[in-house]
């Protein structure tokens, strides 16, 4: 938890707090449907124009009404103030116009089919926030189900129910305290001691202990995240499609899922995880070390060494998994050099191109893959990352940016067919999000996007 400004962070824990204080225009359900929040409806008038009809009768916690002015202020602020962490997400917005108090038209610089998805990540602010931003964000008001009470940095945030919330009979509890406990063992201990009701980011090896405790339930759900280990496509090894193919064939994904992640992961059947627009079924990548050896021999690669770079402690079990992969690749004659680096250093090494394979995951945070494709599979995005460059893919990504979901689905399927064949990345598994809760909790939903949202949660 770093800030109370919904446009100025990119953190899951901050979102889990701030989504209770601010509402976005649109919300996304756990089954990936975009549903009305502060916008009652929205429509693409053409490829670059969107109209939003706003909800009437909504008030901020200080009593001021929510109107088109709030939308104008919030969207223009995030686009224009490039100091804000989320500013880059909304750069394609060209203009935001007020048609009347409850209708807003947004025009975009180019087709922006993922605009509704991206708007789920932005809490609406009262225009008055602009006058004294620093003061406003020490005691912020939103339209959300809870009002902000206090924040003890590094320890906890306190929120209280907003009795006039626009959704009837929500929230179900009077007070919400969010505590920040970085260490998983302590989080689990606090839950087992009955001090708290929900914990997030449980690792697979903690599940058994939690399940064995009376009064605790463990919930899991396939996340919107696919693990993806990307090749440096300009280095000797990654440049050669035969090497990439051999590496892919040599990795026994099912063993990783079963033995190391204890089943808390799903086999990949296309780069985009199920539920999101573009998901399709391309089959599972085979495990065939013999063929891998044959390909390497035929291509004349003897004594190949790969630098496998990890961002230290970022993903559950990553070091064990990388060691298993090193053994699997060793089995077909590829030597793997695991470099477990502090995150900032690892990312610098990637920019410099000093890696062959990079351990990473991609959570499709606004439940939309446009961002993933735009970042990793366009020349501009990938230039200092993977060095990916394929004009066919780039063209399809541009064509897939239109608002029409049918067109998008078709373009994304085409993109993924190319990627599946070409294998610029290894997709080892889809991640699973694990939570543990007190069994007195009612209506808790284990979210696919790792957010903890307690709008509808009550205590028995």
């Amino acid at each position: 938890m770093l800030t109370l400004d919904p446009a100025n962070h990119y953190s899951i824990s901050s979102t889990s707090v701030l989504r209770h204080v601010y509402d976005p225009l649109l919300d996304v359900t756990n089954d990936d449907r975009f549903v009305p929040a502060l916008a009652e409806s929205w429509k693409a008038l053409n490829n670059t124009t969107w109209r939003f009809t706003l909800r009437k009768g909504v008030r901020f916690h200080d009593g001021t009404p929510f109107t088109a002015d709030s939308v104008l202020f919030t969207l223009k602020r995030v686009r224009d103030n490039t100091k804000l962490i989320k500013s880059f997400v909304y750069q394609d917005i060209d203009d935001v116009r007020k048609d009347d108090d409850f209708t807003v038209t947004v025009t975009t610089k180019r087709p922006f089919g993922s605009l509704p998805a991206r708007l789920t990540m932005l809490g609406m602010l009262p225009p008055a926030a602009g006058a004294h931003e620093e003061a406003f964000f020490t005691k912020p008001v939103g339209t959300g189900p809870f009002r902000f009470l206090s924040w003890t940095h590094g320890d906890h945030v306190e929120l209280e129910a907003n009795a006039r919330y626009w959704r009837p009979s929500i929230p179900k509890v009077d007070k919400l305290t969010v505590r920040f406990i970085p260490e998983l063992s302590t989080r689990a201990a606090a839950l087992r001691a009955g001090e708290i009701h929900v914990i997030d980011r449980v690792w697979p090896d903690m599940v058994a202990t939690l399940k064995a405790t009376a009064g605790i339930k463990v919930l899991d759900t396939p996340a919107v995240e696919a693990q993806r280990w990307h090749f440096q496509l300009a280095r000797e090894a990654g440049k050669d499609p035969r090497v990439r193919k051999a590496v892919s064939l040599a990795i026994d994904r099912n063993t990783i899922i079963k033995e190391l992640l204890l089943g808390y992961a799903r086999p990949v059947v296309s780069p985009i995880p199920p539920g999101l627009i573009g998901h399709t079924t391309l089959g599972q990548k085979p495990y065939d070390p013999d063929r891998a050896r044959a390909i390497l021999k035929q291509a004349g690669f003897q004594n190949l060494t790969l630098d496998f770079v990890l961002m230290k402690d970022l993903y559950p079990k990553q070091l064990e998994i990388a060691q298993a992969v090193a053994a699997m690749l060793g089995d077909v004659g590829i030597k793997v050099n695991i470099r477990n680096l502090e995150i900032a250093t690892a990312r610098e090494q990637r920019t410099a191109g000093n890696y062959d394979l990079f351990y990473s995951g991609w959570a499709h945070m606004p439940h939309d893959p446009d961002w993933y494709f735009g970042q990793w599979f366009t020349r501009a995005g990938a230039e200092k990352m993977t060095r990916f460059n394929d004009p066919r893919v780039e063209q399809l990504i541009a064509e897939g940016r239109v608002p029409d979901p049918k067109v998008r689905q078709q373009k994304y399927e085409e993109i993924q067919k190319i990627l599946w064949e070409d294998e610029p990345e290894i997709w080892p598994y889809y991640s699973v999000a694990i939570y543990a809760i007190s069994d007195r909790l009612r209506n808790f939903e284990a979210r696919r996007d790792y957010y903890v949202l307690l709008h509808e949660v009550g205590i028995a």
Binding site: T82, G154, E183, E195, S360
Partner: protein, 306 residues
């Protein structure tokens, strides 16, 4: 004495400027890009560049240092990159929890450590001595994180006597301070025992006993007082460690202290916060060292500085 004091103050100022330059340069020379750490992995390079410019990181190093020095003189340590708030405020907010934990751990260290040391020294060779020595060895060799988690599981989960974590009230202070104090307590106990034993063998102690002083008076008034001098040096250094080096304890107990803050700040390349903490703690270190040196003269009249 006055000349000595002035010289020491001048040296301290030079040390602090040196520290600030070192911290400033090291942070900017090690690999890692603050804007990249603030933005998610998928942020376009143009956004990274833009943010770095906003953070003032595209100026030449000496210009950045000059701006920094000018602001520090005005009491402004810059804006935290991560928290988007004045770095000094971010750091100062962590002071109460940091001090509370350090003071509690220090008190435990002194009271338990010295008592244990005295006990094992005067009962040398008895089961008391062996028991105390075992405790001291355990305290020094048990890893902090293991001890902390075991204490949480025992007193927080199983017995439910104390809160598992967090900062609020006396009860929440117990487990973290015990965890943090384990190592220095053991250190102090062993040190006290060793120096007390050495002193108890000295001539003047025999003289004291010979002139009929009670054992209690001999040990506590005459021996312990002299044994305190090496202890003071160690305790002075331990205060610094307790203030800044409680990272693991703070992580385990979700304690909002400075140790965790500085490690995260280094991790995320939040330069202003790292600078603020390191310069403040260097200042504290320097001041405490100065005070300890001056205390020697009070405790031992033979030590005089000219």
């Amino acid at each position: 004495m006055r000349a000595y004091l002035l010289r020491r103050l001048w040296q301290s100022a030079v040390t602090l400027v040196g520290v600030s330059i070192l911290v400033f340069v090291i942070l900017r020379v090690v690999p890692g890009d603050p804007a990249k750490m603030l933005l998610p992995e998928g942020a376009p390079p143009s956004a990274v560049e833009e943010l770095n410019r906003h953070l003032g990181l595209r100026e030449p190093l000496w210009v950045q240092y000059e701006i920094f020095l000018r602001s520090v003189v005005r009491g402004d340590f810059g804006q935290s990159f991560q928290y988007r708030a004045p770095a000094l405020r971010v750091v100062i907010e962590r002071v109460p929890a940091t001090i509370a934990l350090a003071v509690a751990a220090m008190a435990l260290t002194v009271v338990v450590g010295v008592s244990l040391g005295v006990l094992t020294a005067v009962r040398q060779g008895t089961p008391w001595d062996y028991g105390g020595t075992v405790l001291a060895v355990l305290g020094q060799s048990l890893p902090n994180f293991w001890l902390g988690i075991m204490l949480v599981l025992l007193f927080g989960v199983t017995l439910r006597w104390l809160p598992t974590s967090g900062f609020g009230g006396w009860a929440s202070l117990v487990l973290p301070s015990v965890t943090l104090a384990a190592f220095p307590t053991a250190l102090v106990a062993r040190l006290t025992r060793a120096s007390l034993l050495e002193i108890l063998g000295q001539e003047y102690i025999r003289t004291g006993r010979a002139k009929g002083l009670g054992e209690r008076r001999v040990v506590l008034r005459h021996a312990l007082r002299n044994a305190t001098i090496p202890l003071l040096t160690v305790l002075g250094l331990q205060i610094g460690t307790l203030l800044g080096g409680a990272v693991i304890t703070e992580s385990i107990f979700a304690w909002p202290g400075m140790g965790k803050l500085v490690v995260d700040a280094i991790f995320f390349r939040d330069f202003p916060v790292v600078q603020t903490i390191l310069i403040l703690s260097a200042t504290i270190f320097v001041v405490i060292n100065l005070l300890v040196d001056l205390l020697y003269t009070v405790l031992d009249p033979r030590i005089r500085y000219g």
